[in-house]
């Protein structure tokens, strides 16, 4: 069943906004409603075409009226985020309470037939006690107890409860790996953009990434087709954290584990990067998703591998390497010439 009237939350952010733009360009979709508490930035608004913007907080019961009056049949919940504008408490409010309100509104509506939820691989946590790759039915041995990961886990709990209560609604939950792209601004992209990148001494994480275009394509596919279930979404292959830092032409600065806390507070104060305990665990151990189900059941193969996605982010952002590959090659030739002459 093709959706007629789609409501997208979080349209002032990258994923929600660009998804709305894609849906607005699709002639099969009658109406696209975009919801967010803040208006989209002008360049995003231009792309969004015929999308009708509803300035509303999803925590407000108004959202139920919007869904009922517009006869929305498909809801895309893309506003759960780890990159809030405000403080941490506001993020939790928005993520968890917002989801509750939205689901309550969906449950009330007779028209809603499909729900797509943008979740995150963070629900798996990051620990040395878990298998190297997560499949959708695995749960971590060390469940996240704080921060965004806990929010996401709670959001998924509510979504599961909703799916039980409204079994006629097809629910698709997408667990995205860390999204990168030339135009994406997240905790991780800001981290890699630092000239000197702090890492934790003695640890090196496996990092799996997802190109923003692939993320959008997956969201769009889930919105337009009947594909219920939970799906891991991530690019092929992994990069080691240290390797990624090198590929971005940055210099890693290993920090002893004991000093991470104070430094984290310092940089958080300066609003540079997120060094919360949960993020530090990710930077220590990383996480990788098994995407077999995405290919086999969801029918999507990411076009960008982790490495290509990262390189595209580096090129697109115009990160100027501190140590250029070309200069290194020149140095290498130089040393070899000198040795060849002397021996």
């Amino acid at each position: 069943m093709a959706p007629r009237i789609v409501l997208v939350t979080g349209v002032s952010r990258f994923l929600g906004g660009h998804l709305a733009a894609r849906l607005a360009a699709d002639p099969h979709v009658d109406r696209v409603l975009g919801v967010d508490a803040v208006p989209p930035p002008p360049d995003l608004l231009r792309r969004m075409g015929r999308t009708e913007f509803v300035r509303a907080d999803i925590r407000n019961p108004l959202i139920a009226k919007v869904i009922a009056r517009a006869e929305v049949d498909t809801v895309v919940h893309a506003s759960v985020t780890a990159n809030p504008h405000g403080p941490r408490s506001a993020m939790k409010e928005l993520n968890v309470i917002g989801t509750m309100q939205l689901l309550a509104a969906c449950q009330k509506s007779e028209r809603v037939r499909r729900l797509v939820v943008k979740s995150t691989a963070a629900v798996y946590g990051a620990s040395p006690r878990d298998p190297a790759l997560f499949t959708e039915d695995m749960a971590s041995n060390d469940l996240p107890t704080s921060g965004y990961a806990k929010d996401a886990a709670e959001v998924e709990d509510y979504v599961r409860a909703f799916a039980r209560r409204r079994q006629d609604v097809l629910v698709t939950t997408l667990r995205f790996a860390n999204i990168v792209g030339p135009r994406v601004d997240t905790v991780l992209t800001r981290y890699f953009a630092l000239p000197v990148v702090p890492t934790v001494l003695g640890h090196d994480a496996r990092v799996q990434l997802l190109h923003s275009e692939d993320a959008l394509a997956v969201l769009e596919r889930a919105t337009l087709h009947d594909l219920p279930g939970v799906f891991n979404v991530g690019g092929d292959g992994v990069l080691m954290l240290s390797q990624a830092i090198r590929r971005a032409g940055r210099v890693p600065a290993p920090v002893p584990a004991a000093a991470v806390g104070p430094i984290g507070r310092l940089v958080r104060g300066a609003r540079l990067v997120d060094f919360s305990p949960e993020q530090v665990r990710f930077l220590n151990f990383g996480r990788v998703l098994d995407t077999t189900r995405l290919r086999a059941e969801f029918g999507f193969t990411p076009r960008w591998t982790t490495r290509q996605a990262f390189d595209d982010f580096v090129t697109g952002r115009g990160l100027r390497p501190l140590v250029g590959a070309r200069r290194l090659a020149a140095v290498e030739r130089g040393i070899r010439d000198v040795v060849a002459r002397w021996s």
Binding site: P128, H203, D204, R206, Q308, V323, V339
Partner: protein
């Protein structure tokens, strides 16, 4: 896979048109041309420099477990070789029982307080086997929790001992090594040397059954004598979160010097593979079968250990 996806995609799209590099520093640097065959020293220097350049630009591949073959062969294995060849004078028997390709599960006895036996087995199947295979070991979570060691273990291709990881590696055709006695084996007192402990719960057998790969029993003689554990300071172990805090004739009395392993003479024997195909579907969930196979593997290793020990005159001279 292209290391410079963006540039390559741009090149494909232009289809015959001239490609103008927008970011010259991101275009793959022209590899320094291999110079005329110079001296051995020059060749090795060139290799080392190329390695260093790959590391500094992040131009290398790791698999989804974090296995980094480039680093393993250039940095992690070389320091183990003198230990393997000169210090322990490891002798290998039956390496032809390790298949040259495809998945197989090497199951060995564990001893020696520190897991040098595992490292030496990895050197054996890499250096002495014609296929130069990498042994992907299954380790305790303690290993992966430790800084430096945990990161290096991942880069060397090892992973957590759990069925999903074991089966994934075996399905991918990797050679997997497992030490099912775990801490009970490696940390047992010296007086119990060469007495096999309980073989876990047989998880390794069900992994082999599910993936249909052969089990290669491996018996290691010599590792028991490297750090004879004559005592255990339990409060200290608890304090440090370790399974045991060993006391050997040299450690901790001589400080770091006590960490030097005694130069025992080692023998690593690989036995005839035990096939796991030919069972019904669902055999991996039959506890009796798993139990029997576990016992068979354990008995094979124990008998081989006794035979090797009876052939040995002296622990240090062989």
């Amino acid at each position: 896979m292209s290391s410079h996806g963006g540039a390559d995609r741009a090149a494909e799209r232009t289809d015959g048109a001239r490609v103008i590099p927008l970011r010259p520093d991101l275009v793959p640097p022209d590899e320094p041309a291999p110079s005329a065959p110079g001296s051995e020293l020059e060749r090795r220097l060139a290799e080392a420099l190329a390695f260093l350049r790959r590391r500094l630009t992040g131009d290398y591949e790791v698999d989804e477990f974090g296995f980094d073959p480039d680093l393993t062969e250039s940095v992690l294995l070389p320091p183990l070789r003198p230990l393997y060849e000169k210090w322990f004078r490891v002798e290998t028997i039956g390496l032809h029982h390790v298949p040259s390709e495809g998945g197989a599960l090497v199951v060995a006895n564990h001893s020696g307080t520190l897991p040098l036996d595992a490292l030496m087995t990895a050197v054996a199947v890499h250096d002495d086997h014609p296929a130069r295979r990498h042994l992907r070991m299954l380790g305790a979570d303690l290993v992966f929790r430790l800084p430096v060691i945990g990161a290096l273990a991942r880069k060397a291709g090892h992973t957590l001992a759990c069925n999903p990881d074991a089966e994934r590696l075996l399905r991918a055709g990797e050679l997997v090594g497992v030490w099912p006695e775990g801490f009970k084996g490696i940390g047992k007192p010296f007086r119990d040397r060469y007495k096999l402990q309980r073989f876990g719960r047989g998880g390794f057998v069900s992994a082999a059954l599910r993936t249909g790969v052969p089990i290669v029993p491996c018996s290691i003689v010599g590792a028991e004598e490297i750090y004879p554990k004559i005592g255990d300071i339990r409060p200290l172990a608890r304090l440090l979160g370790l399974p045991y805090f060993p006391v050997t004739p040299l450690f901790p009395w001589f400080g770091p010097l006590g960490a030097i392993p005694l130069p025992s003479k080692w023998t690593i024997e690989f036995g005839e593979p035990i096939p796991t195909t030919g069972y019904d579907e669902g055999a991996a969930d039959d506890p009796m079968l798993v139990f029997n196979l576990t016992d068979q593997v354990r008995e094979t290793i124990q008998q081989t250990l006794y035979r090797l020990l009876s052939q040995r005159d002296n622990a240090f001279l062989g």
